[in-house]
């Protein structure tokens, strides 16, 4: 064996060993995502979310409102939504399109797989709010202010006994950060703030997925799958047929159009392969069905099935042109449907008896 052959073997083998070694170390320590050099792990407001959160959702309202897509939708539906937003602004002083930067929504961990309810919801919104005006509105609706661990908390209980509502609450966790939701969820957020309980940032499983989702889009949901199907909203027959899914994340990026991706992490690789096979079949059928429909074919052809190991991913894009086409289609269909106010067709003259 010549010297240069030995050199070649050493270099090639070295690359191979170094690559495998790096991968092994990464797999052993759980990846390099905890290095601070590599990006942020999600919105800072997660520091107020209890560690047992099972669903975390985020929407960058500012980016979505500024998007070309929103401008287009607004021009289409201005009359329908304009009144609601104007009334909300008149009551709270908050213009959703200008004053809210982003929203974080959380479902807590009290729900059980077989339980009748999901965990308590909590919504946090970051933006510019007139705290005095919001407080006045809450009081005018019958809300009560109280002090909870040094934090001013507004609570409201529905007077109707048949509604079985445990009560809702609202507080400003920081200037410009409002938290609202079920009373227990808001109190739990205050507990986390005071350090009485751990935050979700200590939940490595969830945070790893949150970080990946946060890097992918300006709106996302990361959820334990059983938290999503709690409450009997999904028929038990369907649940039994679904592959064993542990985690689900849905990310969307809204700009000129929409691109979205859904990722599922199954309990094992067989379940993932089954899910991929089912989706691949559905995708094939959808492509065959929409072959003649140019408007839908663009969307269906953009669907990309992927994933490896226990992961399954499905991504698709709706370009702005497709949204235009769909809007035109809806408008044409609406024009074809008879209006409620349209005059009834004249009744036929009775035929004289022979």
């Amino acid at each position: 064996m010549t010297k240069r052959t030995r050199l070649f073997l050493t270099v090639s083998g070295g690359i191979l060993v170094a690559g495998l070694g790096t991968g092994l170390v990464a797999a052993y320590v759980g990846g390099f995502q905890n290095l601070t050099l590599i990006g942020a792990s999600g919105p800072n407001e997660l520091a107020y979310v209890p560690s047992d959160a099972r669903v975390v959702a985020y929407a960058n309202v500012r980016e979505i409102m500024d998007s070309e897509l929103h401008q287009k939708l607004q021009s289409l539906h201005q009359s329908r939504n304009g009144d609601g937003l104007a009334r909300f602004e008149a009551e709270t002083g908050v213009d959703v399109t200008r004053d809210v930067d982003y929203v974080v929504a959380v479902l807590g961990g009290e729900g059980t797989v077989s339980g009748e309810h999901q965990g308590p919801p909590l919504v946090m919104a970051r933006g510019r709010f007139d705290e005095v005006r919001v407080e006045g509105l809450v009081r005018s609706k019958g809300g009560v202010a109280e002090d909870y661990k040094g934090q001013r908390l507004f609570t409201y209980k529905d007077a109707a006994p048949d509604r079985n509502v445990t009560g809702v609450a609202l507080t400003f966790l920081e200037p410009g950060l409002v938290a609202m939701g079920v009373d227990s969820a808001v109190r739990a957020a205050i507990d986390v703030r005071t350090g009485a309980t751990a935050s979700v940032t200590a939940n490595e499983d969830l945070m790893r997925r949150v970080k990946e989702a946060n890097a992918d889009g300006n709106a996302w949901v990361v959820a334990k799958f059983d938290a999503l199907v709690n409450g009997g909203k999904v028929p038990s027959d369907m649940l039994q047929r679904l592959p064993a899914i542990n985690w689900v994340s849905v990310t969307g990026h809204v700009n000129g159009g929409v691109r979205a991706a859904m990722r599922a992490e199954t309990r094992d690789e067989t379940a993932a392969q089954n899910l991929r096979d089912v989706l691949q079949g559905i995708l094939g059928l959808a492509k065959l069905q929409t072959g003649q429909r140019a408007d839908l074919a663009a969307i269906v052809n953009s669907i990309e099935l992927g994933g490896e190991g226990k992961n399954v991913s499905l991504a698709f894009a709706v370009p702005i042109e497709a949204i235009d086409q769909l809007a035109n289609l809806a408008a044409a269909r609406a024009a074809r449907e008879p209006s409620v106010d349209a005059p009834a067709a004249p009744e036929a003259e009775p035929v004289p008896a022979p």
Partner: protein, 279 residues
């Protein structure tokens, strides 16, 4: 009268194969065929490097109908499109068929066969040299592509499938190499037959419903790929709809059987066949 020293015993089959291996490895590595090998395996590395540079400048390197494709998915697509469908079978054909055919063509086989080494050991030694030569070029290329495309944060999640990729590429090279070593030992124009097998028979058999696919190497190699098959056309769509993936242990058993059986048959063919050199 002086007695002549006894002749050394001829090397065993394994020793003979190892001697041919060490002789053939350098020969194979620094041949003109290696330039082709480097070009073929360098292309994905170059593309991955371009993608990395593009990504570094804030531009998404690949979009499918407007959807940004992440690095791990691009890597999966490259494993399918470049390595499994092209590089592995093509290297198997080019190198495997030439193990004996080149010696016949260059009329150097006589020199090998007059050595005190079994003819079968010559083929096995050359096959081992092919295996080391190709795996040590193809696998580092895959490693480079992987680390260029997949962000460090996703390495832990994707490492097992990456390791599986390396394993099945090595297995694919071994299986195709052994099969085409037999073709090279048995047929007069092995390269043409090999190309017809890879780009004709295998492509058609994978698309035909029924049992035909079981008579291909690609069926067993592709059944173990941990990445989703890219849906890049009608052929892929048909393949994905018609696919019937056997369990991994079945694939491993069949591939092992292909390697052992074809290599054994090739060695036997070389032992028994009379190679007539063109004058």
């Amino acid at each position: 009268m002086s007695t002549r020293p006894p002749l050394p015993a001829p090397p065993t089959f394994a020793n003979g194969a190892i001697r041919v291996f060490s002789l053939s490895l350098s020969e194979m590595l620094w041949s003109r065929r290696t330039v082709f090998l480097l070009l073929v395996t360098g292309a994905p590395v170059f593309l991955a490097l371009v993608a990395r540079i593009v990504q570094g400048s804030g531009i998404v390197p690949l979009r499918v109908n407007g959807v940004a494709v992440d690095g791990a998915s691009i890597f999966g697509m490259m494993i399918w499109v470049f390595y499994l469908r092209f590089i592995v079978p093509v290297l198997g054909v080019f190198y495997g068929t030439s193990l004996i055919a080149d010696e016949v063509e260059d009329r150097t086989i006589t020199y090998l066969f007059t050595r005190p080494i079994r003819r079968g050991a010559v083929l096995v030694g050359k096959y081992l040299a092919y295996l080391v030569c190709t795996t040590l070029v193809v696998l580092p290329s895959v490693v480079l592509v992987y680390f260029l495309l997949v962000p460090l944060g996703q390495v832990a999640r994707t490492f097992m499938s990456f390791a599986a990729d390396l394993g099945l590429l090595a297995l694919g090279l071994a299986a195709y190499g052994a099969l085409f070593a037999l073709v090279g030992a048995a047929l007069k124009r092995p390269l043409v037959s090999g190309l017809v097998f890879v780009f004709g028979w295998e492509q058609v058999a994978l698309l035909v419903p029924g049992y035909f696919r079981r008579f291909t190497v690609a069926h067993y190699v592709q059944s173990m790929v941990p990445h989703a098959m890219p849906s890049d056309g009608v052929v892929s769509l048909l393949q994905s709809v018609l696919k019937d993936n056997p369990p991994v242990f079945v694939c491993l058993l069949v591939l092992a059987a292909i390697i052992v059986a074809t290599l054994w048959r090739a060695a036997n063919t070389v032992e028994s066949r009379e190679y007539v050199l063109d004058q």
